[in-house]
Structures are given as C-alpha cells and as structure tokens.
Subunit: 360 residues, 2 copies
C-alpha cells in the first residue's frame, strides 16, 4: 500500500476534481505485475491502468488500491467493471470513497460478486493524501491553505507598503511549487494593487492553477499582470450580487471571466470553487480577506514563512486582520505539521480545525 500511495501522489495537483489514486496488481504468486495512478480527470483511473498492464496475469491475483474503486459511470466507465472483468480474487483498499456516488457502493459490488475485499489498510495515510478531496466532497467547499511571508517581528510589508521581497529566493521557489499543488490561488483587490503578482507556479503545474480575484466592489486595476497575461493561466473574478453592473460589463468586454456569488464571503467563494471542481485552494491574500477566511473556517492549514529580518513600525501590514477575539482562550489553536528551512527563512506549517470557525 505504501507503494500504491507513492504512485497516487504522482498525480498531485492535476487530478482535481478527482482524488489522487494509486493501484498495484499482484499475480497469484504475489509478484507485482501491474501498477498505475490517476493522472488527470478524464484519463484512465489507476485500477484500469494497473489491470491493463497486468493483463491476463491479474486473474486470481490481488488488486491493491488507495481508494475504493468507483461503481458509477463518470467520464470513464466504472472501475468495478474492469476489476471484475480482470478476474482478481482479492482487493485491498485503503479507504472508502466519500463521494456520495460511490460511498461503499464499489466495495459492496465487488463483495457481492464474491471477491475478498479488505478495507482500511493505511487508511490515515490515504485520507491525509486526499484531505482536500475528502474535505470538498464532505463539506461542499474547497480545502484552503493560507500562506504568508513575514519578518521575525510579524510584518508583511514596511509601513510605506514595500513588501517585495521579505523572504528569499528559496522561499519564493517553494511558493511556486506550492501553487503547483493547488487548483486555485486567491487574492483580493488590495494585493493586486499592492503587489501586482503573476500568481503562477512558473510551470510546476500544467495547466497552471486558476487565478482567482475576490472583489466585493470590482474596483480592480485592470492593467494588472493577471488580466494582461491570459496565455499562461486562466483568471476568474469572483464578486457578489452588489457589484455594479458597469464594473461587471467592463470585465465582460475585456473577456475576463466572472463568477457571481450569491454570498460575497470566503465561504461563498469556496462553495463556488468547489462546484468548479477545485479541491485545494491557496489563500495568498492580504490581512483583511485572510482574517475573514480564518473566521469562516475556510482555512485548513496555515503556512507561515518567517524571514530573519526586522521591519518594525505600528502601521506596517501584518498577516491577519481582526479575528474579533476578546479572550486569549478563544484564539484558534494550531497543530504543528512540521517546519523546514528555506535558505535563511523558516517555513512553519500548521493545521487548523474546521471546528475553529469563529464567525462572520
């Protein structure tokens, strides 16, 4: 199963809205005769790849797969059909598929057909690998990672707004790789105005993640790079119903895609992006939007890059706007998921419980 999980991880960043899945086929003697992983939505599932490679040697053997085989017709036929056709005797599954179209149906179908099915091998590892997919399927919202780079004294810019660059080249390369594992990168209008970022993975992901601008007012700098350069990555402007008709039409004339949200909140945005098949999104926004996302439980992980410098200054920008806390006991507690050096900088990654949503 460890090998199947490693195969599955090869699909990181490109399988959405599907999960990452890896599969192995062992023949009757336990010899490895096939392996595969899901690479991209619409392309063959891992089980089908592995069984095709195994060909006739799968008969009477075992299939090891990181997620329950599907039993529904999607863009590709149900995997259960292929498993039954191959004549394997035993299927080992890390975890059931939380997708309501499957949700144990695949396992039941294989068992009904007389196959031995073992479920739950390395389940925590499999669930962690697909945490974003599982979160989206269960909650109807994309899984969010909030990232910032700050000085040791907690500043994300100088008092005059200068912020490029606080972290070093290695940290910035890490951000590009991080974007490569995300389906969308979200900024607000303020970040667009202050930093004019490109927001791509610099080729680490094909296609590039969707660039999302979240703007209540649609008062946006239309000369920004992400609106000018639409060849490398797609850009989407999400807004609420209160955005002026004139501003909407201005975007439409420029051919910039819009997503009108019924609720102009981080929660509304993540529901909209989940509906578009985004499993994992990256919040690369300023303090006000970041704090709203934390308050609404739209942040599942926090990645803080801390640069060994001091910026000082009360009016200087900080990572998070108001969380509306009145007592320290209310502060969301984070779980350290590890750290690493990125050149002179330190990356400290944390998990944040969904239960930590504070309020609007």
């Amino acid at each position: 199963m460890d090998r199947a999980l490693a195969l599955a991880a090869l699909g990181a960043g490109t399988t959405s809205p599907n999960p990452m899945v890896g599969a192995l086929v062992l023949d009757q003697d336990g010899q490895l005769v096939g392996e595969g992983y899901h690479c991209r939505a619409g392309e063959p599932h891992a089980e089908v790849m592995a069984l095709a490679q195994a060909s006739g040697r799968a008969r009477g053997g075992s299939l090891v797969v990181t997620l329950e085989p599907c039993c529904h017709q999607g863009r590709t036929p149900p995997c259960c059909d292929a498993v039954l056709a191959a004549g394997v005797a035993r299927v080992v599954v890390a975890m059931a598929d939380p997708d309501p179209r499957v949700a144990g149906g695949g396992i039941a179908r294989l068992r009904d057909a007389g196959l031995e099915v073992v479920v739950g091998v390395a389940e925590p590892e499999a669930a962690r690998l697909n945490q974003a997919f599982v979160h989206r399927v269960r909650s109807g919202r994309s899984w969010g990672l909030l990232k910032w780079a700050m000085s040791l004294d907690g500043r994300t810019a100088l008092p005059n707004g200068e912020s490029q660059w606080i972290s070093g080249p290695m940290a910035r390369q890490w951000v590009h790789r991080l974007r490569g594992r995300c389906d969308a990168v979200i900024v607000g209008g303020g970040t667009l105005r202050a930093d004019d970022p490109l927001l791509t993975s610099r080729g680490a992901r094909t296609p590039e993640p969707l660039r999302v601008v979240f703007s209540r007012s649609l008062d946006l700098p239309l000369a920004a790079k992400i609106f000018q350069d639409d060849s490398t990555a797609a850009t989407l402007v999400a807004h609420g119903p209160q955005a002026s008709r004139a501003a909407q039409e201005r975007l439409d004339r420029l051919g910039i895609e819009r997503l009108e949200l019924s609720q102009c909140t981080p929660l509304g945005l993540l529901e909209g992006l989940a509906a578009r098949g985004c499993n994992q999104v990256l919040w690369e926004c300023g303090p006000t939007l970041a704090a709203a996302a934390v308050r609404q439980g739209c942040v599942q992980q926090v990645a803080a890059v801390i640069a060994p410098t001091l910026l000082g200054g009360e009016p200087a920008r900080t990572p998070l706007g108001p969380l509306n806390l009145t007592r320290l006991a209310q502060a969301p507690q984070l779980t350290s998921l590890g750290w690493q050096r990125l050149g002179p900088d330190l990356l400290w990654l944390h998990g944040l419980d969904l239960g930590s949503a504070i309020g609007p």
Copy 2:
C-alpha cells in the same frame, strides 16, 4: 580547553562584572591534577582554584585557562603571581583579556618570567562564551538580548491588551532560566502597567537579576509587584534629567533606587548599567522601547518565541515599534543562531550586528 570552557560556563549568570573563566592544571606527565572556575566576583579566580587543588603537583606542569590570567590587583590578588609561584612551565590560554587593565599584560608578564605561553586555542568558543563581557569592556555598554513571545501572526497581545499567556508553560520556564543568565531585566512603564510582571528567574539565579524600569516620565504604577516585593530581587528605576522632582522624591520616599541618566535613551541606559557591572541585560519591554533599543544598536541578540495560535487584529500589539525604514534593503539582517521547541512553541534565536544600529 573544551573541559576548561565547560568549567567556565558553570559561572554563567553570577560572575558579572567579571568574565566566566575555567582552568585546568596538568602535572609534568600530563595528568589532570586540578581544576577550577570563577564563580562570583570577589571570590577566587579559576586559575587560583585549580592551582590550589593541584598544590605541589603543578610544578613543571601546564595551566590551561580560558582567559588570559590577570596581572592587576582587583578584589583578589593578580593571578599571574599565583601562576608564577606554582612553578608551572607552560600556560595555554584561549584568548587575551580585553579588559584594558590586563590586555596582554598578563601574557607578557608570564613570558617575561620564562614560561611558555600559547594563546588562541579555541579562541572563537571562548570569545562566544564571554561575548557579553567582551562587548561591555570594548563598548562601555551592556550586551543586550531582546526577547518577545508572539502568535504565529506576529501579535504580542489581543486588541484589548490581553497578553497572558500567549506562550506555554515550557516557554515561560525557559524565560526564567534566561533571566538567570542575565544581570538585569529591563521593562518600560507600559509593560509594568499592562502585565505587572515579577521579572525574576524564580530562583535560577542568586542573587536574582536586577529589575530595571526605564521611564522617561516616572509616571509609574507604584503598586506594581516589583516595587512591593523587594525581598527577592532589587529594583532600579532609570530616568532622564527631565523627570519631575516630585516624582523622583516619591520614589525616594518609598526607598526605590533611582539611576538618573544624562541621556534618557537605551544607549544611555546600557552605559549606566555597564558602569554598574552588568555584562548582559534582557530587554523584556514593549514595542516602542524595543524598537528604540534596536535602532540604537542596543540589541545584540533577538529571541522570538512563536506560539502556534492566531490572534489577528490590526490594533493588536506587535513586537516592535517603528524602525523608521523606508526600503526593505535597510532592514537589519539577522543571523540564525538556532531554534528549539519549547512544548508547542518555537524559540528562534538570532544575532544582530552592532553595525546594524539605524539611528535614534
């Protein structure tokens, strides 16, 4: 020399204004026959302790010592006399004593007497061990360490001022041990009003470090714990010439010791504390005084304790007030000296060059 340095370190926190010194005596055959370290100003020096333990076996042997033996009469007689009287043939010294009363004079005296003197063995380690002493002797100012505890988003309090406790019990115990290695702990009037801290090492150091309140206005909460409890630790109020006579007299009536500085600045304070024999001081102050200390080059190390929580809020207190930077390239660069976990918290320690002084 490694063993001599380890012996020297046993004096950490209690030798000021003297340096930490460790010494070994080897007999003619290279056998260890004596060792000692300097424990407290006014008590025997390391060389004298080690030679006394070695007694007659020192004759013709070697003395290994982390700092040049002194050649002047202080509270104890010159160590050079004891070295010569013991009849050792060879002296191995890690580094010359920067104290202008010694400054190579001890080495010269031993060489003049015909002893073989080797200087510079493990010199970087010896200089690091006594960095505070060396800094004070060379600059005439105490060596400063600035410490703060903040949330992952760089806050040292909630917007409403609540700050106890952001870090966990292990981090707070570490702070007590840190105070135990310092000669003085400095706060401003604001910290006194906000936190009413005790500022002791909780017994890690005897005597407790001097508690210093730095106050321009002398508008101080006289009911604060550090003024009420003078049995565990001494308290000193440092102020400038512009403090009102009435406020000064109020302190005098309460028997609270004052230090009137000609310059009411961090620099003036560290000169005053150096003159009182403080080698190493700990800045435990709020953002305004901390930033002033950084700007004036009064901070040689920064210890940031980062707690895995989020506090948010633009008006919430941050570690550092204005550094008056207008470009990121002006920001002081720190040198990572290592990190450690303190329970759930992370301590990241940095060095800051004296050359990084920015201005008043």
